[in-house]
Amino acid sequence: MTSNSPATLAELREGEEACLDRIDLPEPEARRLMELGFLPGTRIAAARSSPFGDPRVFRVDGSEVALRRETAARLMVRESADIRGG
């Protein structure tokens, strides 16, 4: 469905999935994210967002974590897959 793959988590739409490539944030914050499951190489799916569009909930490593768009935009992803058939 998507012509060009999303480059960051912030570009994923609800139901889309991607593989985390790297976290473009300073060490303490990147570490926090990693502790919550955002490890490079992990598949992450975008779920519901807040009624106002931001933050969005992401499904990662068996749990759901909400991130603001500004943070999601620092999480770089590789190849995406539209698993829910859009």
Binding site: E29, R32, L33, E35, L36, L39, P51, P55, E64, A66
Partner: protein
């Protein structure tokens, strides 16, 4: 705390007679893994409620006695790792390494994880095992795992981690005997196993994935409930609408449903007071007992049902998992004033009391955000304001139209919220400006709140409330009664206006007169510096002493003391002013000095004064 055996499953366990020396066991685990539920199971009602006034709540202590073995359980804040970055993590870190002054180094650790997401949760096992303390790994939520079709081989896992593992359900009590056996058994250090590089998160995660594989862990199917409910609660239209409806329902209920219960308590107090009055001979002691204590403490105790109702709501919202969604919905607003959505959770708990709210800001990593949250938390309408609001509203706001009283109450809650948000905006754009830290919030699964957990919370709250009534309020009431009874005139107590208390009230009358308050209210404002609800007790005592015949209806007495504009001014004053010494003490401790505590006190009180003055002027 007593030493009677706990009624929980633990006591039933038969285990070798252990030494009776007390041992300390720390309960560690990620947030929402069920630590509190397990803690409550193990300690029953014998935990220390350490919320007041100004004492630590960073860790909960509880004792459980198992066949002569005294065990001190320490419930620590939820953590994802042992890297100390927030205050909360620092507490866990220090305690586990025995660097806490008031708690001995633990003899053993119980690591509790949510077994429905074993891989992620066991990431914490590496750092914990590397401490080298005797450890029990508790896989909690066994009921949920089973229901959703997951399995795990406990023995294989125990083999892999080199330490005992128990599959339990803290909610149903299933499997808890193993925890009891561990707590009272001979504690052995874990057999050395290969551990990951504990400072490296990917390494820890890989290691725990390997553990899961070897323990033939089959993850449960995802819970559809959570997704479906999120579809409703986070719906662009329905979500905010439900949010507002929940709030309205809470207020309407605490107002309407509480009335018959409060009437019941009031009758009980009046009847017992009347009975005492007739049973005791006339003396100064009877006067102290009836007018001072029954009138003062009694008029505060009347509000117990209402406060408990509020806590039923807060409990359901917290335990069900809705609170995290509310934080998500509120994040946009919080972002606008420069705070992170996480600040919302302490602010919500400030509706109960500012003190636990201030302590729970320890989870906020950004120090400036944390400071701002501490400074605005006391603006949120805490439960101690509820008696004051209810009394004044019932006395001055007509019952018709139906929603007038509820609307006034909601207005006061909004007022506090607006003051908090505007203050935050000012602070965050000036002295506490900071780069934004990422907002990370794990969304727990929705769960049905249990009667047990809500019941325990209510019991806790009732204890705290009654203890306050029996200490702070009782003490101020007795002091007030004496000050209102001296100096004796011809061996008789004076008119209150002529007494020492009256003199104090009248001295401050010029200051508060512009707000429409007289000297009686003035005495109440002074005594309620100790705690807001004390003003209700104080007025109860003053009116009780003035009335010829026993107790006088507090509401009608108040009507003769205040005009409607004065009543509104009083409400506004209490919405803003920092009438709570316990909060001042906690702020001083948490901010590391008097500076912010004093600034906050002066700011809030000045704001209360100015706004009350403006309201009185405009309305009259």
């Amino acid at each position: 705390m007593s030493n009677v055996p706990s009624s929980s499953a633990v006591v039933a366990a038969h285990a070798p007679e252990a030494s009776s020396a007390s041992r300390t066991v720390a309960l560690v685990g990620p947030p929402n893994s069920g630590k509190s539920t397990l803690f409550n199971r193990l300690t029953g009602l014998r935990q220390k409620v350490a919320n007041y006034p100004g004492v630590t709540v960073e860790k909960r202590l509880g004792r459980t006695s198992l066949q002569g073995q005294d065990v001190l359980l320490v419930d620590l804040p939820g953590v994802y790792s042992l890297e100390p970055r927030t205050e909360d993590e620092q507490v866990t870190h220090d305690l586990l390494r025995g660097r806490m002054d008031d708690v001995p180094k633990p003899d053993a650790v119980v690591l509790i994880v949510d077994v429905t997401n074993l891989g992620r949760q066991l990431t914490l096992a590496g750092p914990i095992l590397s401490l080298g303390l005797p450890t029990l790994v508790v896989l909690n939520m066994a009921d949920d795992l089973k229901r959703r079709g997951g399995t795990v081989d406990v023995d294989a896992l125990a083999e892999q981690v080199g330490t005992p593992v128990a599959l339990v359900s803290a909610r149903t009590g299933e499997g808890l005997s193993a925890v009891g056996e561990f707590l009272q058994g001979a504690l052995g250090v874990p057999r050395p196993v290969e551990l990951p590089i504990i400072s490296n998160v990917p390494s820890c995660r890989q290691w725990s994935a390997e553990l899961g594989k070897r323990a033939r862990y089959r993850a449960p199917l995802p819970s559809n409930w959570t997704r479906r409910l999120d579809g409703v609660f986070l719906h662009p239209v329905a979500g905010p609408l439900i949010f507002v409806m929940v709030v309205l329902a809470v207020f309407q209920t605490i107002f309407q449903a509480a009335v018959p219960l409060m009437d019941g308590v009031e009758t009980m107090i009046a009847v017992s007071g009347g009975w005492l009055q007739s049973a005791l001979p006339e003396s100064w002691f009877r006067s102290l007992l009836i007018e001072g204590i029954w009138g003062g403490v009694g008029s505060v105790v009347v509000f117990l049902p209402q406060i408990l109702l509020l806590f039923i709501f807060i409990g359901v919202l917290e335990d069900s998992g809705y609170m995290a969604r509310a934080a998500l919905i509120a994040d946009r607003t919080m972002a606008k004033v420069g705070l992170e959505g996480k600040s919302f959770i302490p602010l919500i708990s400030a509706y109960a009391c500012a003190i636990p709210a201030i302590l729970s800001t320890r989870t906020i990593a950004n120090q400036r955000d944390r400071m701002a949250t501490i400074l605005i938390a006391p603006f949120m309408t805490c439960s101690a304001r509820l008696p004051v609001y209810t009394l004044v509203i019932a006395a001055f706001i007509p019952e018709e139209p139906v929603y007038a009283r509820t609307a006034t109450m909601i207005g006061l809650y909004l007022l506090g919220f607006v003051a908090a948000v505007l203050t935050a905006a000012v602070l965050k754009s000036s002295v506490l400006k900071s780069a934004r830290t990422p907002f990370l919030l794990e969304m727990p699964s929705y769960r049905m709140p249990t009667l047990r957990s809500i019941g325990l919370r209510l019991l806790d709250r009732a204890k705290i409330f009654l203890r306050r009534a029996g200490t702070v309020i009782m003490a101020t009431t007795i002091v007030l009664w004496f000050l209102a009874s001296v100096p004796l005139q011809n061996g008789e107590p004076p008119e209150i206006a002529e007494s020492v208390a009256g003199a104090i009230g009248r001295t401050m009358e010029p200051i508060i007169e512009p707000l429409g308050f007289n000297w009686r209210i003035g005495i109440g404002i002074i005594t309620s510096l100790a705690a807001r609800e004390v003003i209700v007790g104080t007025l109860g005592t003053i009116y009780g002493m003035e009335a010829d015949e026993g107790s006088l209806e507090l509401q009608s007495a108040l009507q003769s003391d205040l005009t409607l504009p004065g009543a509104i001014a009083l409400l506004i004053y209490f919405a803003f002013a920092m009438q709570c010494m316990s909060t001042v003490a906690v702020v001083r401790r948490e901010t590391g000095g008097w500076k912010w505590a004093i600034i906050q006190f002066v700011y809030m009180t000045a704001l209360g004064y100015v706004c009350a003055f403006a309201a009185y002027r405009i309305l009259s």
